[in-house]
Amino acid sequence: MATEYTEFVEKDGKVIAKPQTKVIWRTFWILLIITVLEFVVAFTLPHHMHLLKVAIFVGMTILKAGYIIGEFMHLAHEVKSLFWTILVPVVFIAWLVLALLLEGGFIASY
């Protein structure tokens, strides 16, 4: 919505702004490349480096989530109060991840 259109074309007898899709396609390529990299990591890193693999996967997933939320869902370009309203409650998810994974490890050791 913040986009300023400078070029216009005529279509079906109406004057319509020219599409500005550069950022959209760039985001698409970034997402695709990250997914391909995930496959490369999944099949090249040896089995005993499982923890490193998981760390890479989690990092790449968060990166992908950032691009989807920020660019596709446009949150990065909304006002700061909306941005933080959505982002801050996610700490509860992070807490639950830590709490339950630790708990799972304890259950396994009994």
Binding site: D12, M73, V79
Partner: protein, 253 residues
């Protein structure tokens, strides 16, 4: 005008008449998606808890066989691709499904962009591509479920107690009672997590079809803006976002 601006504490909401510069519908869509994110997190984190409370397979990956004794390696379970019967192609099909969903997210954002320019024909075109992508994903998931339920080429031998007598039986595939790939919760979580996500995709496709119909009827052209496309787009991107997490934590890790 200057006095009006001074009277309103703009820095609090940053939007003037509309809090956070977003319409009511858009704001509520965001809040709904946040609550939905909590629901999906609950499912995925519960999966993590149950997985880490089961032993992992200790040996080398090429020695792996299905057993209820330990959690399966996902790439050994999800290795089938339609039309390539009997060939081991680990994660290729889910990779394709991921691509389909990301691509349909791109066509959705292109529809939103066309809506900003009030280019009705372009909105119609990109909405239609998005709907097609949604149906393709749903079809792929139906195939994946069918394959998961029917099972691998060879059965897994599972101990069971029938009428107080211990027997060993051959098990093909999985459902909510029996599972050839590993411990029972593995199948249960597969059905619940991918099923809950698939239900979201299905309702997303329905919403897209309704909005597409309204676009074609010229409703938003008369209204003067295409914000409904934007709102349904938010939901559609969220479905894609959830799949990114399901893909990593169910299939890759």
């Amino acid at each position: 005008m200057a006095t009006h601006a001074a009277a309103e504490p703009k820095h609090l909401w940053l939007g003037g008449a509309e809090p956070m510069k977003a319409s009511y519908g858009k704001l509520m869509m965001w809040i709904f998606l946040l609550s939905d994110a909590f629901t999906f997190s609950g499912l995925l984190i519960a999966y993590g808890l149950v997985r880490y409370s089961h032993p992992a397979f200790e040996g080398a990956p090429h020695d792996f066989v299905f057993s209820p004794q330990y959690w399966p390696i996902p790439e050994k379970v999800f290795e089938a691709v339609p039309f390539f019967h009997g060939q081991s192609m680990p994660l290729v099909f889910v990779g394709l499904m991921t691509f389909i969903l990301i691509f349909s997210s791109v066509t959705m954002v292109l529809a939103v962009e066309a809506g900003h320019r009030r280019d009705k024909a372009d909105v119609e075109k990109w909405m239609l591509w998005t709907i097609l992508g949604g149906f393709t994903f749903l079809g792929s998931q139906a195939w994946e479920w069918a394959h998961f339920i029917h099972g691998a080429e060879k059965p897994t031998l599972v101990n069971d107690i029938v009428n107080g007598v211990q027997i060993t039986k051959e098990v093909f595939g999985a459902n909510l009672h029996i599972n050839q790939y590993g411990p029972q919760p593995f199948a249960d979580f597969f059905f619940f997590i991918t099923g809950f996500h698939g239900t979201h995709v299905f309702s997303g496709v329905l919403l897209n079809v309704i909005i597409f119909f309204n676009v074609c009827m010229g409703l938003y052209e008369r209204r003067g803006h295409y914000e409904m496309v934007e709102k349904v787009g938010l939901y559609w991107h969220f479905v894609d976002l959830v799949w990114v997490f399901v893909f990593t934590f169910f299939y890759l890790v």
